[in-house]
Symmetry: D2
Subunit: 339 residues, 4 copies
């Protein structure tokens, strides 16, 4: 951590900061520059609230140096984490790129089994589908709940696909753990810490979606909550961020894929459906995500998108899914991977 | 809802859309323009997933017309809602502007009582203070929890201030309801729907902070969850949004204050501390918020900001708080209100 | 400037950075922390491209310490700059708050004189109005050009108001300088450097609007271009930034007002018309801007907003302007200023 | 265009709007819904300022239906525009993907020829390099100007590469036209309309970079200015947008690639160097851009990035460029194109 003093700060101001720094258990190192004085603070600063020092007289700002997460970081673990999912133990984060597809919400047995068969036939490794649905409006379809979970389990038994479904709160963890292979934390819950801590005590992989305006540090700290509580099997899922762009539901910043590869050992999956909001943009962005190095994709597919109960605009149909996976296979090979 | 067809859409495409519209229980009204055909859909469309229609052939986009919320809207209730808080039943949303101040976190009995006395002396009506702290990092101070709640209650008994404190999840509602006067929902929980629904069943006012990238519709729909579940005493709190600006922790968009006055009958409070992130910006933005028509302010104040366990950078000390409230009194009068 | 090395950087990597730092004419100061090594660089670094060093092996990032501007900074000049405008030499940046109002575009002699009289009667000090209009679409009204300038000059002679009008490019500077009192640089030209340099050689004040996604440093560097070229009479005008918010044309971040007061000695004016995009939001945000400490306001007013050739949605009519200025007078007094 | 009335609007309000609509030369079509009345306006509305109507009593908002651009639109021209560049007449927008690479700025003859040879050897089709440099700070290196142009021409003669270089204002058009093959308009000049109009009268292709917070409509309208003034050879270049993300210089939204393919017939090029700001992210994002369907790339390459006079952090060296182009060839083939 570096404390930057304002121009005009005198020795007393600097001494005061040095005193504060030492109170926090850090060592100080004062550098007098041409125009500014800075106080470099040495030691493990993760538990210190740096803001406190910013309030001292003549302090301009605080510059953190260390990343705030540890266990999610490549500083602590260099080799990549592979998270095995589903009955076939597909390893996300390994050589192969894994495609997970399925409807936004489980709507009926017939709908789910039809799309599950198509997902399997296309060559995917996982089936997504919401049983508990966190909806922006209290008047929207809220999901089939426990019954939806049972249908997902039936689809898994039939196809061998790994079931990925959302856990919306503490009160639904037990039910979801019983039926699902991967517990998804939605973007809106990325910083719901009681949930993260509870998922740290669960023996199944967790797919942690990025909050729609989360910074990378915040996202990795959310992963850290889960790992710190005992569950190292965390998969990160980029699903688009909120920007001024209005022709998309969210802006999909694929740069996170190579950047996270530098910062963390965790597998990174991309959701081009929420990440764009429109079915016509999904194929190109799926290909781009794989070319950027993503370990997997999470795609919304529905047997009849025009009649989907939710997210119809961004769902693709079985035929499009089949063609898309075919093209993704080529892109994966072009960047030295398989699918 | 208006369905805009792509250029080149022919009668079959339009007929298909009309069929879908009718399936959704809406009446249709087709308008053939010079370059485009649009299908106006008439009826209450709040429960329909409009995305589904976007996936029909030759549909360009869907334009919603109605606001998605009802009970939070001035369309349904014109007179302003006044929410009475604390032992003195101060009415937020009424003529008077109410200032709520206090530390980010309860750290000790001595810290809390010192600041509570200062908050009271300055002329504020409420005491804020976190007992359960949702922290970005698992390594940060997580709050005094139940013991913190008891200290807050003690401070209320001593000062008459209304106690505002955060409820971080379902599992802490009971404890917080027992001790607090206003249950705060933090920005990161604005869309944690299980929590919102539970707060709808609680007999105390709820202060709902705006999510850091929430749109107004999303925020008002979150309020709608609480009202719909049975609790009409919702206070909205603007606390800054995430933008590209880097000299502030968040950008504080005061335009929400007059805009919400048009859209909703609920009281609107502004948090200039999180809304800027730096103590030196708090006084000017507090004055601006009152001038813009805010019903109240939520300000972080600490007896010794340099040693605050959290949010030290944005906390002001008791002396600054006293001077600030004095100046706010003048601004309130200038815009025809009292404080 | 601080160079932060990656974890694992060894002595050779650090030595290489030190060599680069010295090549750039800076002195180095290496600090070995618990987890990281940083190289503090001492000297005036404004002309060095810090990116170059980031490309050296095992460098994580570069942290600048100094602000990149000089002459616009309070580090160089502590007393506030007052810029006198118009025939009455109103001093922007002084004790009094100055209101400048008028139409988006000059449309006709009758329109301009009507609104000019209303602006004067309301108690404003300046008249805004575009003669050359930079329009997003080539099919929109492009302004009355030179004839518009003459009408503005006539309105000034009649009312004594300072004329503020936009200069859209090098080719129109001469004409605008001849007729206007303040040369406005639009948001879209904030970084058109040939224009900024030319305005540095002109003997009239320049009002520099913030680019719609400019950072404060970029804005102040644009001012620096003008000052550096010889013209110290620069007025900064905040007009809203682009964010994800969709109910406003732009988000108006009033926090710049107190922040710029710390960083620069230049006067700061706020444009609540472009800063919101909707007439119903202008009064509240005007009051908020004055309460935040703005030195002036730039408001769009039109004798008949429903028929305005441009920006009708955000223009207020003469009656609203009169009432607004009356309320602003009270707010100004509440914060210790006059109007 | 649709005019949405507020709830409670009565017949007089609607009649007033209808009168305004007719004054603007449009036909009206009133639809009375369950909760709202809307007035659909029929006719070509591109020259009408829709804001004017928003100011009428009880109007809630205006919803535009038509895209505001014409000649840039696929509505007017379905077949894709191919823009031939340089001595070898490489067709951007055709089957082949074209890579343009080179330094941010021309720094010396030796620097330029070294990198030009490397760019050619790697298999690129164009050489980028700035002679006139628009720099954020007046204290930064401003380019070699006319001498730089001559060096670029020499490099073209030597290699056959198309020269792409920036024209920073009206005053430098003549010089750049004389030496360059493609005239680049920088992001900061995207809405400098005098420049766009002048480039419409020039007989050479124009590469129009997206403004750093431009919406797609604004970008295509900027292209429309050039086409409308007589020059149809416009290439669009995405270079990243400003968002809250802080680990990149800009966020690169590749979704524009498939979206523009729907909206416009113009070729689309991606700049992964400005679009990320860091050399380590350039290869992955280059591959992603090609996979998304980009017609070309614009990459910053420097013989010695550590000593680059500008943009060193985002420049890659000749060896990396060679390897990158090799991998791009595979990705292009995977998506059915060549390089």
């Amino acid at each position: 951590m570096i404390v930057v003093m304002k121009p005009g700060a005198d020795k007393d101001h600097v001494d005061h900061v040095v005193k504060l720094v030492r109170e926090f258990g850090l060592r100080d190192h004062v550098i007098y520059g041409t125009d500014r004085t800075v106080v470099a603070c040495i030691g493990d600063k993760r538990s210190v609230d740096k803001g406190a020092i910013e309030n001292a007289p003549m302090v301009e700002r605080i510059v953190p140096i260390l990343s705030p997460y540890k266990m999610a970081s490549t500083e602590v673990k260099r080799e990549r984490t592979q998270v095995e999912i589903g009955p076939l133990q597909f390893a996300l984060g390994g050589e192969k790129v894994g495609i997970i597809a399925g409807p936004c919400a489980v709507e009926s047995r017939e709908q789910l089994l039809r799309i599950a068969d198509a997902v399997k036939a296309a060559g995917c490794v996982g089936l997504r589908g919401g049983a508990f649905k966190p909806r922006t409006s209290p008047y929207s379809f809220q999901g089939m709940r426990e019954e939806g979970l049972k249908l997902l389990a039936e689809a898994r038994d039939r196809t061998g696909l790994a079931v990925v479904t959302e856990v919306t709160g503490l009160e639904t963890i037990d039910a979801v753990v019983e039926y699902a292979d991967v517990l998804q934390v939605g973007a809106r819950n990325m910083q719901h810490y009681p949930l993260l801590e509870s998922l740290g005590k669960v023996g199944k992989p967790v797919m942690l979606k990025r909050g729609m305006s989360a910074k990378l540090d915040e996202w990795l700290l959310a992963a850290e909550y889960i790992i710190d509580a005992g569950n190292p099997r965390v998969i990160l899922c980029e699903r688009g961020i909120r920007t001024y762009e209005e022709y998309v539901r969210f802006t999909l910043p694929l740069t996170v894929v190579p950047e996270l590869r530098e910062r963390t050992h965790l597998p990174v999956v991309v959701d081009p459906s929420h990440g764009t909001g429109h079915a016509h943009l999904v194929p190109a962005m799926s290909r781009a995500a794989v070319a950027a190095g993503a370990d997997g994709l999470l795609i919304e597919a529905h047997p009849d998108p025009e009649h989907a109960a939710s997210d119809g605009a961004q769902s693709i149909d079985p035929k499009s899914l089949g063609e898309l996976v075919k093209s993704l296979r080529k892109v994966a090979q072009a960047v030295g991977r398989e699918l």
